[in-house]
């Protein structure tokens, strides 16, 4: 029997109608209904493969040939969630009957994972591929090499949402909140300090995963230093500012402590020296909390008129809200820092 369609063997076309492997299957045609709208003029190969799949599914057939059939279809339509789902069920069924690692079918979980990765590189925006991988790794209960696999994808697109979703699942499932994970985010941020996905992942592994619990001693300081360093390199980078604010919030540290830092990037009395609209934004909050409405207004007006005019309406709305916030002492729940 032919092996199960890795990249190289794909050229070798499946011949459902003449191959004796499929002789017992009566293909089931597609019912598109009467006079349908937006019908797709499939290639003959796709039409045939799909009609075999329908027949196979109707018979609840999970024999090894299903792997051939499903990889054939996925090669033509990688977003076919039904086919992915059926393929996974088949893999599991073969696994249960211990035929999956058997020499005679020439396919294994390892080969499956390699094949999945080759598809992933061809179709970067795809939900199914990464979900399929997740189901497999969950079943195998072994994350070895998986961080490297996502790393390969980040080399192509360091903000790929599906890959990041998978990476987060991996970290949670196998409790990989370790130095390697921290270093991975640091290295992505080193490459591009504006990579918001990397910032998000860092927040998740350092603080987000803690839930209601407070961070360990020194973590808040370390992370705010990291953000401040990033800001010094690129003061107009919103990711780093947002991260800084979030870290302080999580640490129960008042925003007002940022005043000198922000003022160094946005001296509101010398608008020509302002290097960051985000610093102005935070300053307006700090001034407002301190009851200095004149300065708060000034910061917001600079944003509206010069530094971020497309958001003028928002900055004016913020102006409208000045003085309406309860003081931070009564508002902010104190988060217990662990002793």
């Amino acid at each position: 029997m032919a092996s199960y369609s890795s990249e190289e063997e794909e050229e070798e076309e499946l011949d459902y109608t003449n191959d004796p492997v499929w002789a017992d299957v009566t293909p089931l045609p597609q019912d598109d209904g009467h006079n349908p709208l937006a019908q797709i003029a499939y290639s003959p190969e796709y039409t045939i493969a799909m009609s075999y799949l329908r027949a196979i599914m109707a018979a609840n057939d999970h024999s090894p040939r299903v792997l051939n059939l499903t990889s054939d279809i996925i090669g033509m339509n990688a977003a076919h969630y039904t086919v992915w789902g059926y393929r996974f069920k088949t893999l599991m069924s073969l696994d249960r009957s211990q035929t999956l690692e058997d020499e005679k079918i020439g396919w294994s979980w390892r080969q499956e994972l390699e094949w999945v990765q080759s598809i992933a590189k061809r179709y970067e925006k795809n939900y199914q591929i990464w979900h399929h991988r997740q189901l497999i790794i969950d079943h195998l209960d072994d994350p070895t090499g998986e961080r490297a696999v996502t790393g390969e994808m980040f080399a192509l697109d360091s903000k790929n949402y599906h890959v990041w979703t998978y990476r987060q699942w991996l970290v949670q499932r196998f409790q990989l909140f370790d130095e390697e994970e921290l270093a991975a985010t640091a290295s992505l941020l080193e490459e591009d300090v504006r990579n918001n996905s990397a910032w998000n992942h860092r927040y998740f592994i350092v603080l987000g995963r803690l839930g209601e619990a407070g961070p360990e001693e020194g973590v808040v300081e370390r992370e705010s230093e990291l953000a401040k360093e990033a800001i010094s390199k690129a003061p107009q980078n919103p990711s780093a500012w947002n991260y800084l604010k979030a870290v302080l919030r999580k640490g129960g540290i008042e925003l007002a402590t940022l005043k000198p830092f922000c003022e160094s990037f946005a001296p509101i009395l010398s608008p020509d020296e302002i290097k960051s609209s985000h610093a102005l934004d935070i300053l307006s909050e700090i001034y407002d909390e301190a009851g200095d409405s004149v300065k708060a207004e000034k910061a917001l007006e600079l944003l509206a008129s010069k530094f971020d005019p497309v958001r003028k309406n928002y900055w004016r709305y913020r102006r409208r809200l000045l003085g309406s916030k309860p003081t931070p002492a009564s508002d902010t729940p104190t988060i217990q820092a662990t002793a």
Partner: protein, 498 residues
């Protein structure tokens, strides 16, 4: 009707009805280009990275389009041709990748046509016959015939049916109106569909897209829309204790709450990066379950959310990005632009303690509608028809729908009316708050530099030919179609058709 009455309104409506628009247009010199669209942002960091290089490249390429006092009108004719073609003539094999998204194709094209003013009622019969083979024997809808049921397929299928049945029935006498709805919805196995949705419910309160499929807030939003539009009531959702069923919506609100991120935005699930598409899903879902000023403050940190949402709009482009430090894209006109209606409703509810509509206490427009309209009209129209992500990208059906929907969000004021009288059939609906939305062509003016509101924003639609239809801010289908389908379920249940 759902228009706010005031002198400006009738003036604007009169304008809409007047003929010889091109005449009137040629007399008026175009407005000068606002400064923000004339050059790069005031602050640019020295440090270049992949993100900043891509951003700069996009800003420069878009500048050529937005820095022009003649903002193009919406070329409805070519867009209509672009959208009718796939419906009528079908699609080439190049679209095989959408074979598991057949209901989406119908929804995108048909809703976009409705936005462009096309009467899509003539498609209803073919929509029904196209969707029937997609209903799964065990309940739900697949992306194509014989495919496993999927939440997004059911969502798009139901939306399409609600749109075309509304158009087909809207001018008919009551008995024939009923006939259209009975034909359009009578074949759906509501009980099996509900049973299927139960199988996608997660212990954490959310839903997954199908059995064995992935979890994200999109699945939860789609589930709520399906349930709301198919008229399921409290009793049905509570479940049958003898079958060991639990209330279907249990834990959902807190599930959404956990999806707000450290940035203030909302991600696909807990810990995911904040993203415009998922933000829209959660905001709409929340507003299906309560009054905006209640749910958006109880389950979100609204101030932080607004700050994140506002940061999605860029200059010089005028359009929205979906995430921090990503590029603008026309489809976020809906995902981000659509959030604004809901956020403004919440902000207004807080200010006026929810006593309906008062222009003087209105917080006004919180975002830049004109800049978005400029981005859409100048950058997202393909000269050969169809709408797109940005210049240089090919148009497609998905972007056509969501760019036009975003234009509708920019042109209209969508507001929540808590004084709206609802038919008794809705009173027992867990989604009744979703049926209290209205629209107005008059958009409250943004706050002045003194932070004061009042009055209407002018010149939002500089050319009436660019005006698109009104849509429901939660369901993303024509506004009035929503009231009609709700009425149908009242009739159907009263007549014990179900």
């Amino acid at each position: 009707m759902s228009e706010i009455q005031d002198p400006n309104a009738s003036q604007q409506l009169g304008l809409a009805d007047a003929s010889g628009l091109s005449n009137q247009r040629s007399q008026k010199p175009p407005d000068p280009v606002p400064t923000m669209h004339r050059g790069l942002p005031y602050i640019l960091d020295d440090l270049g990275t992949e993100t900043s290089r891509k951003q700069l490249q996009t800003a420069r390429s878009v500048l050529k389009y937005v820095n022009d006092s003649r903002v193009p009108t919406l070329d409805k004719t070519t867009h209509i041709d672009f959208l009718i073609e796939p419906l009528e003539d079908g699609l080439s094999r190049g679209f095989t990748g959408l074979d598991a998204s057949r209901p989406w194709l119908l929804y995108w094209c048909i809703n976009a046509l409705a936005l462009l003013g096309v009467d899509v009622g003539g498609y209803n019969e073919r929509v029904v016959s196209s969707l029937k083979p997609l209903q799964h024997k065990d309940g739900g809808f697949g992306g194509g015939n014989g495919q496993a049921p999927h939440m997004a397929s059911a969502y798009a299928a139901i939306l399409t049916l609600v749109v075309t049945s509304y158009y087909e029935s809207r001018d008919l006498p009551k008995d024939r109106w009923m006939g259209v709805y009975a034909r359009s919805f009578g074949w759906i196995d509501r009980q099996k569909l509900l049973d299927w949705i139960r199988k996608t419910k997660l212990r954490n309160g959310g839903f997954k897209v199908n059995e064995g499929g992935e979890e994200d807030v999109r699945a939860s939003y789609c589930a709520l829309v399906i349930l709301a539009l198919l008229g399921y009531d409290e009793d049905e959702l509570r479940g049958d204790v003898s079958r060991d069923e639990k209330p279907l919506l249990d834990g959902l609100l807190d599930y959404f709450k956990r999806c707000q991120t450290w940035e203030g935005g909302i991600g696909a699930k807990q810990h995911s990066e904040a993203h415009g598409g998922y933000a829209f899903c959660v905001l709409s879902a929340l507003c299906l379950l309560g009054e905006p000023q209640d749910v958006l403050t109880k389950y979100l940190d609204l101030d932080q959310f607004i700050s994140w949402l506002s940061a999605r709009q860029y200059a010089p482009e005028g359009g929205f990005s979906g995430r921090t430090n990503k590029l603008v894209d026309g489809c976020y006109s809906t995902w981000v632009g659509g959030c604004w209606s809901l956020v403004e409703a919440a902000a207004n509810g807080i200010e006026s303690s929810g006593t309906g509509f008062d222009i003087d206490s209105n917080v006004g427009s919180l975002w830049n509608r004109k800049a978005l309209a400029r981005y859409i009209l100048a950058c997202c129209q393909d000269p050969h028809g169809g709408l797109r992500d940005k210049p240089g990208m090919r148009p497609d059906y998905y972007h056509s729908n969501y760019v036009l929907l975003g234009l509708s969000a920019a042109q209209n004021y969508y507001y929540y009316d808590n004084a709206m009288s609802l038919p008794s059939s809705i009173e027992n609906s867990p989604f009744k708050h979703g049926f209290c939305w209205k629209s107005s062509r008059n958009v409250p003016k943004p706050s002045t530099s003194e932070g004061i509101g009042g009055g209407w924003e002018e010149g939002l639609v500089s050319n009436e030919r660019s005006r698109v239809g009104t849509q429901h801010p939660l369901f993303n289908i024509p506004l009035h179609a929503v009231a009609e389908i709700q009425e149908w379920w009242g009739v159907a249940k009263g007549a014990e058709i179900l």
